[in-house]
Subunit: 255 residues, 4 copies
């Protein structure tokens, strides 16, 4: 059965962050998936020690820090996706949510150890709630981190509320659909057996490289005169520019 984990990053398990997260939970259930909600503030969750910067291999699942993330790691491994709900503190996730994200590095860094991110192909959604601005900046930062770890994000995979008032019906609908879509995409992907990273060999890459370089070379030869004419027509006042572009013709940075 599809299982989606929901993480509440607010210290208040009764505020709007928690409320919208529960709407997402209803969305998860609505398509027949299982859900489980965790309050991050209830966990002992220590900050990342940056072992990675000492040695790339020292950051691996399970993390060297023996706190409640150990339990969470196992839950995530056996899940199909996660939904992270964060209060917006200074236009960004709360420090607690950021610690949580930082601690997921042990999954992603396995790429360098066993060749595959342990969260590859899982699905993610994000909810951000505040009473001022910064929702999208908060979400963008989380979303790009999660995609870079190997998560995938469904259509309308995030929602936010940034007013000092009751969320509108549209916002409640959006939150419901974050949960629904994370679960729906997880269902669709459950049958997918492809790996999400094709490790082309150096030879395969070289062949593509040669072909692409040839194309760039041709395009450059075609484009430079036009670029020069354009520049010349616009402003003949600075011949240095033309000279310098001419010069660069033989200095293609990417050969």
């Amino acid at each position: 059965m599809i299982k989606i984990l929901l993480f509440n990053g607010s210290p208040r398990s009764y505020g709007l962050t928690y409320t919208l997260l529960n709407f997402a939970l209803k969305g998860v259930s609505s398509v027949g998936a299982e859900s489980k909600l965790f309050n991050l503030y209830d966990l002992e969750l220590r900050p990342c020690l940056g072992c990675l910067s000492d040695n790339q291999n020292s950051c691996r699942y399970p993390c060297v820090i023996d706190d409640d993330m150990q339990k969470i790691y196992n839950e995530i491994l056996s899940s199909n996706g996660i939904i992270v709900a964060t209060p917006i503190y200074w236009f960004a996730p709360s420090g607690t949510v950021k610690n949580f994200i930082d601690r997921l590095t042990v999954f992603e860094n396995m790429i360098f150890i066993s060749g595959r991110s342990l969260v590859e192909g899982k699905v993610a959604g994000v909810i951000a709630v505040g009473n001022d601005g910064g929702a999208v900046q908060t979400i963008s930062a989380i979303v790009s981190a999660l995609i870079s770890m190997g998560f995938t994000v469904p259509p309308f995979g995030f929602c936010y509320h940034t007013r000092d008032e009751e969320p509108s019906e549209n916002t409640l609908r959006d939150a419901f659909n974050v949960g629904r879509n994370v679960a729906l995409l997880a269902k669709v992907l459950d049958k997918n057996e492809s790996s999400w990273y094709d490790v082309k060999t150096v030879e395969e890459l070289s062949a593509i490289k040669e072909e692409v370089n040839m194309l760039c070379k041709l395009n450059k030869e075609g484009a430079l005169p036009k670029r020069k004419v354009l520049i010349n027509k616009l402003t003949p006042k600075d011949n240095l520019v033309l000279a310098s572009i001419e010069k660069s013709k033989d200095e293609n940075k990417y050969k």
Copy 2:
């Protein structure tokens, strides 16, 4: 057949943005999907006129501006996904790429006119290239916009290069996989028939709301004493704080 469109947002159809985009194209082909590459700088692409702000209904497909986007709109409608490659200008997409994104509003705004975003369920990938920083900020901004329009982003659905030198083999692999994963996810989703937005009725929302509010009420009753004790223990020096939290007990913003 799966069709993925690739958009080059660089004025130079021979530089590294274009190069990485072509690696993505090879990735698209590698899983048997069709591809088509457009140079945005070759198109007449006028800036969005913000009709939406005059009247929500005035922004609709096709856009009132009669330029080359009309052709692109049709291409996108008949495609399964897009890959946007942008040079990094001041830690953000180039103005030309931004104009392109702004002009996609006519698809998304159909939600308010016909109830459904015209790009809902299509797949998107992003590539950003510069010789300094700002790649992730550039990508985050594009990714969150596209997800909000209804696109979905696959695992490892973006890549970047920000050095004044030849991209590493890892970067070339990443670019290849952006294309491959966009096409792969498009394939998986091609058979999906669900709509990606469940428009719950006001009654359904109200039922969920009642249930969630009850949960919040219980949690709040449980949490407040602990929150007060915690605060009291930490610092008895400011009784105003306790008083004000006490007071807020009956002022739950979300009722």
Copy 3:
């Protein structure tokens, strides 16, 4: 004497984050200002409890949490500026740095209690270090938070390094100048006696509002025909658009 505080947000007080922060420290000293460096990981620094969301007045200096921030609060109050150096964890500040920023809310929120942010007019600089991307996204998020608290940021007030190699001389220069410029601007501002927020009365605001609204009204009357002609010329195919814009003429959202 001008005093600038430097905060190391890396768990490693010997890595590149720490190194660049020390170059900034030299920049501070170079213009005759005093400096003091703190390793955030050496402090007990608990996460923000979000009291603010229970009641706006409950978040005030000093914070209800009795940890090492109490000491830091006093240091900041008696300083002229701060420099925050963070490792880049997932394209964002480390959780520890984020906790530090969250905990500064007690200074800013005094606006609602005593009418003035306690860090208003102090100067800030930012340093971000990683071996991959995300530096600018990290910095942008910190910079906008600090400006919103009342800090000011000098020219070239941030720097970054995102490569798995020794920083270039330019990067070292940049780090030095972050420190130098924070101290220089602090010096210039030290003599400034203006408050940085002019609380216009409702009457004053109303007068401006009336004047600006009149200007908007005139501009709208001038612009609408042109906007309509433009739209009409471009595409007569959708008369609904014209009609809807016409209609909106009398529905200026801002009256």
Copy 4:
């Protein structure tokens, strides 16, 4: 006399972007500075051609593109600061505003040609207006670009409005103060004669480098045993980690 330029990036010179920009203009006047407002949509403003990527020296003031930016360049050079107001299109500046920012590169890139950014020490403020989210992400991106060009941003140097309703009095005050603070800081800086970039010689940098490296070495020797004990205590399960950190002792990336 202090002169501040205001740029309206909205196609509608009567909407809320324009309205808030005019409140900023009143703030500029309130401290006795001169102001001048430009509607970017009224200008011919072509996209950046990325000459820089062909050759670093080919991007210089004045730009090779002979459009209305030529006039704007001169205005900016003779001003003390700028305020950029943008509508929020897809959580980011409008394409037109982005083109404007991209075209400022000719000022900053003079660092590589004549050793100094032509906008160094000028002051900047930002206003973003929409009816949904994305204001802070929009502002953060502009602010970090401008600081990186050499602008400085005053306390409370930006403001935003993201609701489909009349701005509150607080928002109007904020907009007024963006203008006021940009002008105030420009006044304070007008007497400043320091350059904002100290080009330390290679020798000076080397001396600092040696000193900082020594400090890092000592700190590393002090920290590693503690880091190892900590890790050991937490989890003895993975001796590889300890071994790998031990190994890294002699592999300090920054020597």
